[in-house]
Symmetry: C2
Subunit: 705 residues, 2 copies
């Protein structure tokens, strides 16, 4: 119990909701399976030690507890009030709570902001306004509730809590959906894994999942946090939770649904979630070291592995199986999930060759063959030898078949010893449940599905990398000078000049107003040249035939100048002039971009260039600040990466200049965020040694209205 201090800050209110000294249940029901009855039954069943105040004007006793007609009848202002009344009665209950000095009100009823009805949405806003005026926080509405098994604070009507036995433990679940807190809770408890927190936040009219996450990651008993998210309303708060979690090496795994247009449409109708471009969400999670997975099954799949708290050093997987076919499939999957299958050291090979049958494979993956049937010690000896090899970062054991004749107990003991004594992640796959159970009892993360086991190792490697990444310090803010003006876009010339001024390599070019200027510029810059009509009002020049490339002669330049002048005039556009620039050759035309996302703030895009950036989608989003290594990884994950790393006898490109340009662009958009909405650099020409030159750029001002 916390000392009796007033709730003065947001985090105090959250802490209070998770560990209240007293709880009122407004709409308390005698029936333990009604919304107003379940929380009372749960609070008592799960050992809540604080004071429980059922509120029901029609009863003196509910579930054996003294019951009050209203909040004014209570001997104290309860820390937490559970509003379990139907929707129509919620507003009055909020008012009563606000008046009584309740610190947090949890609203269970649905039919508010998640609907399509204006009056329901307005009621939700009103509810929050009234609570705020009184300094009270609201959880919900449309919320199944909170469950903290450390304190027995089970302020929830979730049926799953009554279906399975509870056990306090190292896992915390926070979900915007009640069902999606119940599903992982049920799956984990069915596997015997202890869960301390299982909270849902519903419509988040006030208190968000992110706020609860900040509170939960401070709980030292929590060793894994699982999130189900439909909409990130307060990314800064979630980022703070992630930062606190990383500071204590606590992994966070999250489902963020609404990945697709159809999913987002469904999410809007479900909880009124805002849509975000999904790659932006990916960038946010990566930046903050949160591992994003696709569904609730994946959310819980790796829990055993996470709870071992292994932090792999690299991607080198050694696979061992008593089935050659399992070895083949393990090798396939390792390649697909970008794990390496390192060669074993000569020493290890010699040890294995001495132990394995003459015809067995001593390469990695290692086929133990049916010899395991007659030689039970083989398993542990091979595993120990392999685990001691310096190339082994990860160990996979495929116990694909076992039964009469196999000493599974001994195998499990040997694997369990390794899993305990060494810091090398070890997973077993065993399709026979009895075999899997034996390995699990020995403390080894064990899966029925070998692909899942290997995928989870790859996920752990990737997640460890994200968690251990030291975010670069944000550089000193740039002093960014955006040209004055009211046009939505800067012209190409202004855009290039802006980027050049802020340290990015742009093509030398001249803005010419006469044919003669253009001809002189071409001579100075070197033939062949490209000419373009330059006007802030015409951001998409090539769509209007305002770009002519590959001009090799004075005459051609003169003709092009006249043509562009004429075309601009026909479009009734006052061109700033005609831009002349030399033609640049490149290994590849790439794209760099920057955006200010309304939810997530400044972002940098890097990818393949050209006309079809959106349609082909070969780009990655990064969240600044980031370092060279992070850009390099992003580039190497592009589909066109092989072109940059060298194929068909071409040399590998030095990616550092490109990475540095992306970093600089991140600094620019961060500094310019209030005035610039987007920067499109397409193409940036990347030469065969990595030199780069921006040949076209378009900067969009932020709309101020």
């Amino acid at each position: 119990m916390k000392p009796d201090t007033p709730v003065s800050s947001a985090s105090d209110a959250i802490a209070c909701a998770l560990d209240p000294r007293s709880i009122a249940i407004i709409g308390a029901s005698e029936h333990p399976h009604k919304v107003g009855g379940r929380p009372i039954a749960y609070l008592r069943r799960f050992g809540y030690a604080g004071r429980i105040y059922p509120i029901n004007p029609n009863r003196d006793v509910v579930q054996g507890l003294r019951t009050y007609r209203d909040l004014t009848a209570l001997p104290e202002a309860p820390d937490l009030a559970i509003i379990a009344t139907p929707g129509a009665a919620v507003m009055a209950a909020i008012d009563a709570c606000a008046t009584a000095g309740v610190k947090v009100a949890l609203v269970m009823a649905s039919g508010f902001g998640e609907t399509a009805f204006d009056e329901s949405i307005a009621a939700e806003h009103e509810m929050v306004a009234r609570a705020r005026a009184a300094g009270m926080r609201i959880i919900g509405p449309n919320c199944q509730g909170l469950a903290n098994f450390a304190t027995g604070t089970i302020a929830s009507f979730s049926t799953i809590l009554g279906e399975v036995d509870a056990a306090d433990g190292p896992v915390a679940i926070i979900s915007q959906s009640g069902v999606m807190s119940a599903v992982p809770y049920g799956l984990l408890r069915a596997r015997g894994i202890g869960v301390r927190h299982a909270h849902s936040t519903g419509n988040e009219a006030d208190v968000t999942l992110s706020e609860l996450a900040v509170a939960v990651v401070k709980d030292p008993a929590v060793r894994l946090l699982l999130l189900y998210i439909e909409s990130i309303r307060d990314p800064d708060t979630l980022a703070r939770a992630a930062q606190l979690a990383r500071a204590r090496d606590l992994p966070i795994v999250a489902v963020k649904s609404g990945r697709t247009a159809r999913g987002q449409a469904a999410a809007r109708s479900h909880t009124g979630a805002l849509a975000s471009e999904d790659r932006v969400v990916d960038a946010f999670f990566r930046h903050h070291g949160i591992c994003r997975v696709h569904d609730v099954h994946e959310l819980v799949a790796g829990v055993d592995l996470y709870l071992k708290e292994w932090r792999p050093r690299g991607r080198g997987l050694v696979a061992v199986s008593n089935s050659g076919a399992t070895c083949v499939m393990a090798a396939d999957l390792a390649e697909e999930v970008k794990l390496q299958l390192p060669a074993l050291s000569a020493d290890t090979i010699a040890k294995l060759a001495a132990r394995l049958p003459r015809f067995a494979t001593v390469t990695n993956p290692i086929d133990l063959t049916a010899a395991l049937l007659t030689d039970s010690a083989l398993f542990g000896e091979v595993l120990s030898a392999v685990a001691a090899d310096p190339a082994t970062d990860l160990l996979f054991v495929g116990m694909s078949v076992a039964g009469e004749g196999y000493d599974v107990d001994a195998f499990a003991r040997d694997a369990g010893r390794l899993a305990r004594d060494r810091d090398t992640p070890l997973v077993v796959s065993a399709p026979q449940e009895s075999v899997a159970a034996t390995f699990r009892s020995a403390g080894v993360p064990t899966f029925g599905n070998q692909s899942e086991a290997i995928r989870l190792l790859a996920q752990l490697v990737e997640h460890t990398h994200l968690m251990q990444r030291t975010a670069p310090k944000a550089a000193l803010p740039l002093d960014v000078q955006v040209p004055c003006g009211s046009s939505r876009f800067l012209s190409e010339f202004e855009s290039l000049a802006f980027l050049s001024r802020h340290g990015l390599p742009t093509v030398p070019c001249r803005l010419c107003h006469t044919e003669e200027e253009a001809r002189l510029a071409a001579i100075e810059l070197g033939l062949p040249v490209a000419v373009k009509a330059c006007a802030a009002a015409l951001p998409h020049k090539s769509d209007h035939g305002l770009v002519i490339v590959g001009l090799e002669s004075d005459a051609a330049i003169a003709r092009a100048f006249a043509l562009l002048t004429d075309r601009s005039a026909r479009l009734h556009v006052a061109a700033d002039g005609i831009l002349v620039a030399p033609m640049i050759k490149a290994r590849r035309e790439l794209m760099l971009g920057a955006r200010v996302d309304p939810t997530f703030g400044p972002l940098v895009l890097i990818g393949d260039g050209g006309k079809y950036v959106e349609a082909l989608g070969d780009f990655t989003v990064l969240m600044p600040p980031f370092d060279v290594d992070e850009v390099r990884r992003a580039i190497l994950a592009l589909r066109i990466a092989p072109i940059l790393t060298g194929v068909r006898g071409e040399s590998a490109i030095d990616l550092e200049p490109l990475a540095n340009a992306a970093i600089r662009l991140g600094q620019i958009i961060t500094a310019a965020a209030p005035t610039i909405a987007a920067i499109d650099i397409n193409p940036v020409m990347v030469g065969s040694t990595g030199e780069l030159l921006i040949v076209d750029a378009l900067i969009e001002r932020a709309q101020t209205d």
Copy 2:
């Protein structure tokens, strides 16, 4: 029992192995857990009704059966002999079997062709040679055996058969790996699904998985065939099995491992499997209506769904759940697996609106909300209304949470009725095992993982399409005339001329021997032109600077002619001349190709063009003959498809000319297979209305050595 006729054909021998009148076990053991003891124990336990002859020179009785000192002591030649001796004794046993007139010998010992040792590989060849000389077939070596639960012919030492209860049923499993017949067998039996066949073929020194597949698909009780394959040695036989299966609407699902370079390396060391480019394997399976999956988990995942024998009419998925979050994730996944979420008819919407709470969603996916808790009839009524909607091809029900208060029995009954009465595929996901079990008992395919449930619906749609595809008749063979010559490649001019002669649209071009000819050709063809040095000895011209493009004047052509002549001379290559061709504009430069694969025969490739075809990998392999619809699907699955279907205001391209060119190319490579190894067409220029023109081509002759 079959009448007593001599084994005269391959299929008779296979039939005999699956249903022998008598079985000898060479190396018979008293111990029911030894390799030579298990088959005897299994034959008796699973009710084999034929004659069992244990062979062991040292015992009179084995496992209670009269035992013979050798084959000569038997009263008859056994149909099947199980050779359960160690490797060193196998050859003598083969000889004895051959002499005794055994029809099929099944060799269990390993240490033959799957090893890296020349003498072991040679022994396997010798074994087959001796058997062939006597008209005997060999199954194995390195083979766990056959198991036919219809006849009790369990000629296997697989431990799994002793671990789980057997039940004859509709599923057949054939695997090149013993373990990978055991794993799906065990998984299916654990789910209560009956399995009739569980065969493994080991090294396939003689009898192959494909041959067994031909026999098994003729078994009318088999309703689903599952395959685990590491190497397809006889694609024609597997194609025949697939054809027989499709003729009776019997689905085949296959794992083909060795998908990656590392996996293939592991497969070679496991069973000596040959490597095939994995997309070729994909093309083979698609062509023959076999559904390829990634691992054994996926192999068995859809069995319940397959056994319902639903054949969906389209891709329209309606999702229903009592969880809004499940609806969101269902919509995400539907979009990702390319299922549609059709709008419901006004009639259905009216029905649902009348039944659902005011704030519930009546769009698809349909959120039943917590109303289900108080209104159990809602479930069945909504499901019936939705199933009756003409837009509903597929139904997904996410029962994400249920417990006290939910009438799961009623829901399961309602779903079961629909699953029985309607031909609309219906799957349920229920993470609570007790809930899932209730739905399964009602005959509804039910999954713990909602993503898996939806993915399997998509797989069923795709598989049904492949199975129902009517393979176009092969056109009359083309009369293909390949120019005589001994060079490995045809020159570009010869290649283009060859393709043009056989009906493909090639760029008009001229082979010129003087500068004047080149200038005249350019005038005739129209400026600008490209010029290239044309020589069979220089197939990769651009790597040698022998291509110059965009020439706009007489002078430029003259300079280019001189330059190319000079460069050819420096390379000591006798050019056939200088090729002059007009420059062609296109929406996109694509690639068409044809190959004769040593295992799978003629193939057609279609994809994005340019220099980096291999590195970017945006191409699909098709197996001729195929029709326009199949090429269209292949093109629409390319990453560059949006460019062809129209983005950024561009019109959609008519894909039929391209599809017809691919079809023609398939006819050409099929007819020319003995003399042509490969045809590379890169690029083929595709214009904005679909018109196309081949501007470069290279034909490679088949090597005759």
